[in-house]
């Protein structure tokens, strides 16, 4: 025992316990329920067994009598103790509160919340156990050895979930399992799940095969023994008890004598006890270490899922952004309505008037205000605005659909969407408004660009002060009409008529300046749409960020688990030598 660095391990497990308290698994990934249970389980195992055991390595051995309902656990405990310390019954399940029977002098080990701290305590006297569900009942009896306490546990397989939970809990806290099964039960699936856990954990185990029909023992006991051997539990002592008439609700003393002797021997042999405790403790610590790794990998998995979810959102909107940029660049925006309006604008000579003469412009305005019909300039600007807005909205809607689709394919994503409600499944409600404001702002920004470009050059400034509007229009068309999406005829029409304007612009500013201006205008539009799309993506990514596990947790968990494993490894190595 002294070979394990108890203090070091205590420090590590305490740190681990604290770290496990910090574990958050906010995403509803497939494995999350299991992982949360595992995390709880490890926390409890540390609280209820490992840490107290490391603190008081010499405390009495705790032997938990567990098993199926109706297997006769309470009857057996009473029979072994030789007194009515726990209540057996014909109704299934009977025992709901665990009963811990200890020697009167060992009371101090169990009265505080050192072991099984999560259960409330109640004290009963032999023959008069206290009533009340789901608390730990303490009974002092000098029929049990000083260095061994017996615990009658609730069942592991009845309809009462709580019983199963407590039973699991108690078995986790045991130095020794006394596992009770019966002739009718020994091949049930549920107990074997527990036995496999026990085998894995390396806890000391004794089996009781109870209620064997007279004469059937010869057939059943070897069968059970071979099943035990298959699970690596071949060394566990097996006690076979026939179904027999009970006297005073207890089995005859002779029937339980072998079992009693086994327990007494264990209690009397300091060395054997220490071995048992060490075996159980190292098994528990190894189990804690393994399960901690499991939890850590789920934490990592959650981080990966979170990355994947926000990646899906970022990708979808980045795609949308790219497509928008392409749409703008290849001139498809210019087609249809926008082109028609541009042709009207050019065909009526309104553009040239916009560009060149104040008076012409004035006349157009007066005509427009008299007839109440919008000028072609406004129609054109409107067409651009609604075209870009429509594109923008559709791309956002498509990206949103895409994210929803990809999120729906994962359970974590589905849960996030369901929690967020209907709103998230659609683009934000004010999108249309923001999109058209975006286009108007951009159109306004073109004027500033031109003004900047013209500043300083006296003549250009003068001319531009006349035709700023018109120049902005020409620039706009330059942004959208870079061949690509236009058919030959369209290029001729759009290009031809822009040519008039752009030659004029080029003449004013120089063709390099015009090219630069076009680039800047396009970049400006790109930036604005990028911002808007980022805002939309943010609705998804911020949701994920709110559900992202802490990044350092997994690493710390793995580190502590590794430390525990190393501590055990050295011990195991020394023992072998």
């Amino acid at each position: 025992m002294e070979r394990i660095d108890l203090d070091g391990m205590l420090a590590t497990t305490t740190a681990l316990r604290a770290q496990l308290g910090e574990v958050r698994l906010p995403l509803a990934t497939d494995a999350v329920d299991d992982a949360r249970r595992t995390a709880d389980h490890v926390r409890r195992q540390l609280d209820d067994y490992v840490i107290p055991r490391l603190r008081d390595i010499d405390a009495p051995v705790l032997a938990v009598v567990g098993g199926s309902t109706g297997a006769g656990k309470s009857t057996l405990v009473n029979s072994v103790v030789g007194a009515e310390v726990t209540v057996p019954g014909v109704l299934r399940p009977t025992t709901r509160s665990p009963v811990l029977i200890h020697h009167p002098t060992a009371a101090r080990w169990f009265e505080d919340d050192r072991v099984l701290g999560s259960l409330a305590r109640a004290r009963g006297t032999p023959g008069q156990p206290v009533e009340g569900a789901h608390q730990l009942q303490l009974v002092a009896s000098d029929a049990v050895p000083e260095d061994l306490a017996l615990l009658d546990a609730p069942d592991i397989d009845s309809v009462l979930d709580r019983n199963r939970e407590i039973a699991q809990h108690l078995l986790d806290a045991a130095d020794l399992w006394v596992f009770v099964t019966t002739a009718a039960r020994y091949a049930d699936a549920v107990p074997w799940d527990f036995l496999r856990t026990a085998s894995r954990r390396g806890v000391g185990i004794g089996l009781v095969l109870n209620r064997v029909p007279p004469g059937a023992g010869d057939e059943i006991a070897p069968h059970l023994a071979s099943m035990l051997a298959d699970e690596g539990l071949g060394d566990a002592p097996l006690f076979v008890l026939e179904e027999q008439a009970l006297a005073d609700g207890r089995l005859p003393t002779a029937a339980v004598a072998p079992m009693r002797a086994w327990l007494d021997d264990l209690a009397a042999d300091r060395e054997a006890r220490a071995d048992l405790v060490r075996q159980s403790l190292t098994g528990a610590v190894a189990d804690v270490s393994n399960r901690t790794e499991e939890v850590a990998s789920v934490v990592e998995q959650q981080q990966a899922v979170a990355d994947q979810l926000s990646g899906a959102a970022a990708d979808a909107f980045a795609d949308a952004h790219q497509r928008l940029a392409d749409d703008v660049r290849d001139g498809t925006v210019m087609r249809g309505e926008v082109l028609a309006r541009w042709q009207d604008l050019v065909g009526t000579g309104e553009l040239l008037r916009e560009l060149q003469s104040r008076i012409g412009r004035l006349r157009d305005r007066i005509a427009a205000s008299v007839t109440g019909r919008p000028r072609n300039v406004e129609k054109f600007q409107g067409a651009v605005e609604s075209g870009v807005e429509t594109l923008l909205r559709e791309r956002v809607a498509e990206a949103t659909d895409e994210v929803v689709l990809r999120w729906r394919a994962t359970s974590a994503g589905t849960a996030l969407l369901d929690d967020a409600g209907d709103e998230l499944r659609r683009p934000s409600t004010d999108l249309g408004e923001r999109a058209s404001r975006l286009v108007r702002d951009w159109q306004g920004g073109l004027l500033d660009l031109l003004r900047e470009e013209g500043a300083g050059k006296r003549t250009t400034a003068k001319i531009l002060s006349y035709g700023l509007n018109g120049a902005a229009l020409v620039l706009m068309v330059g942004v959208f009409a870079q061949t690509g999406g236009l058919t030959g005829a369209e290029v001729a029409i759009a290009g031809g008529s822009t040519a008039v304007g752009s030659t004029l612009l080029e003449a004013l500013l120089g063709d390099q300046a015009v090219r630069r201006l076009t680039e800047r205008a396009r970049a400006d539009l790109d930036r604005r749409t990028g911002e808007l799309l980022a805002g939309e993506a943010e609705r998804f990514t911020s949701l994920v960020d709110g559900h992202r596990p802490d990044t350092t947790t997994a690493g710390t968990l793995r580190e502590l688990a590794g430390e525990l494993r190393r501590a055990l490894g050295t011990d195991a190595g020394r023992r072998r030598r």
Partner: protein
């Protein structure tokens, strides 16, 4: 079976068949439209229909009862006790029974074809015919001894899971040790809570409980069954060791077999269970057909996106332009030709194809722009939002799929509709007369001008003055030249104004025409399929409601 029993049973039978018809309708509707129901539920429905039909077609006069329960509860012992012979091996090793075994109770002492069929279908190869004299009261019963469901043998469990789906009635055998096991209550009894009418629970091995404790256990078991949702289930306490209760169980089985209600009751319970599952999947309100307003909105949006408005405007502009050329002032008519014909620009100046011809080339209007395509996308989204509002999410998704099923064809179809529309482009009747008048006026002006020129030339050469008659103060040639010009201009102004009215009228007519054309596309490709889907969903819903 008494006369009254028989009448009641045929009614129950008829009702079940009706419900199965509705369930069949549900199944077919679900199969025809993936997404109308969750796939696993649709599978369940189809499987249940199939199972029910098959079962009703095979030995419908037999009642199949399964002895089911945990290992060691005494199923095989009870089976042997009821048969009156040690057919099924009973052992102390757990688990003992690994495959199902049937005992056929028949007054003729023979396995009829119907029963053989039935057992074939149940996939129970181990069968025993119980001689008539041994159990005349159980005639018609097919008793199954099942393996356990709770041992480490997963195969046993699988066999139980298969058989509990197909038997007519259950006898759940429990014992004083295992009657409260989660494995039984959570996995089976709760799931078959709706099957109380075809469920008997046997508490076996009561000999192991002291006399005074038995009633307590029976009451506790009854309480647990109530908690599972199995109401008023018959609980029989038995012991195969002492034989107590076995006769009571036999009487219970005899009565149920004689009634012949179990088969129908079980299938009814299955349908009930499905009805519950289905109820949560259909909408509370019946899906309504696509509203007229919604159709109109879709047409409107499609017309916008496809540029129908631009075409209608072009029709007006073209009319105005052509009118200007037909009735404008002849000397300046050529000016108008400098501007492109708006319809030609759209590739729509060709005469539309004769009605009846099917091949319509694309207009030379450009392929739909991204903007137009995006607008179509939005129109469809809005349409789905409108029509699917209030439906369960899965149905909304389904409506969305149907609405977008021919998304790729919409742009083309719209273009073709516009291309084939017989747009009002023919010249107006009065143009010819006004044009004649214009030429006449131009002629007069020309004559006046020539006259003036001649007068001038004559005067220049100093020849004697030509006589220049006068009207009032103004000489004729001047009057003809100036008057002709003024009158021509006046007429052209008036004619243009009238052509403007005509252009507006034609624009409106073209718009109406195109709207009609677009609306037929919208109906064909989107609204009608969605309507059909909504009708199917409504039918699905009403079929589901008929199940209750």
């Amino acid at each position: 079976m008494s006369r009254r029993d028989e009448r009641r049973s045929t009614r129950a039978d008829r009702e079940l068949r009706q419900r199965l018809d509705h369930l069949t309708a549900v199944s077919e509707l679900a199969a025809a439209g993936p997404g109308r129901l969750p796939a696993d539920l649709a599978d369940d429905v189809a499987a249940t229909v199939e199972r029910a039909q098959t079962r009703l077609g095979r030995g419908a006069d037999r009642t199949v009862v399964a002895l089911a329960g945990a290992t060691g509860s005494g199923k095989s012992s009870l089976f042997n006790a009821l048969v009156g012979d040690d057919i099924s091996p009973v052992g102390v090793r757990r688990p003992t029974t690994s495959t199902a075994r049937a005992a056929v109770f028949d007054a003729d002492g023979a396995l009829g074809d119907g029963t053989a069929d039935l057992l074939e279908w149940l996939q129970v190869p181990q069968r025993h015919v119980v001689p008539a004299e041994r159990a005349p009261d159980l005639h018609g019963l097919v008793l199954l001894d099942l393996p356990d469901h709770d041992s480490v043998e997963a195969d046993h469990r699988a066999e139980v899971d298969r058989l509990v789906e197909v038997v007519d009635a259950f006898v759940w055998v429990v014992d004083p040790q295992k009657y409260a096991d989660a494995a039984l209550h959570e996995q089976y009894l709760r799931r078959f809570a709706g099957h109380a009418a075809v469920t008997i629970v046997v508490l076996n091995q009561v000999d192991l409980v002291p006399e005074h404790g038995r009633q307590g256990i029976v009451d506790d078991l009854a309480r647990l069954l109530e908690a599972d949702g199995l109401h008023r289930v018959r609980v029989v306490a038995t012991s195969t060791m002492t034989g107590e209760g076995v006769d009571a169980l036999r009487r219970e089985l005899a009565a149920r077999t004689a009634e012949r209600r179990a088969l129908v009751a079980r299938l009814d319970a299955d349908v009930d269970w499905l009805a519950d599952q289905l109820a949560g999947r259909v909408s509370d309100r019946a899906p309504e057909p696509v509203g007229r307003g919604t159709r109109r909105d879709l047409t409107r949006a499609f017309a916008d996106a496809s540029g129908a408005d631009a075409v209608a405007d072009a029709v007006g502009a073209a009319h105005r332009r052509r009118a200007a050329q037909a009735v404008g002032w002849p000397p300046t008519r050529w000016l108008g030709r400098l501007r492109p014909d708006p319809l030609r620009r759209l590739g729509l100046d060709r005469p539309p194809p004769e009605p009846g011809t099917t091949t319509v080339g694309r207009t030379s209007r450009a392929a739909p722009s991204t903007v137009a395509d995006a607008a179509l996308g939005r129109a469809l989204r809005d349409f789905v939002d409108d029509t699917a509002a209030g439906l369960p999410p899965a149905w909304q998704e389904r409506v969305g799929e149907v609405a977008n099923a021919r998304r790729g064809d919409v742009a083309d179809a719209l273009d073709r509709q516009i291309g084939s529309a017989r747009l009002p482009t023919e010249p107006a009747g009065w143009w010819r007369a006004v044009s004649g008048l214009q030429w006449l006026l131009a002629g007069i002006m020309a004559v006046g001008l020539v006259w003036l020129v001649v007068i001038g030339v004559v005067a220049w050469f100093g020849l004697p003055d030509l006589p220049a008659p006068e009207i009032g103060e103004v000489p004729w040639p001047s009057a003809m030249a100036i008057g002709g010009a003024l009158a021509g201009l006046l007429v052209s102004v008036l004619a243009r104004a009238i052509a403007g009215i005509g252009a507006r009228r034609r624009t409106a007519a073209a718009r109406r025409m195109l709207t009609d054309a677009v609306s037929s596309t919208a109906d064909d490709l989107v609204a009608d399929p969605v309507d059909a889907e909504l009708a199917a969903l409504a039918e699905l819903r009403s079929s589901v409601r008929e199940l209750r």
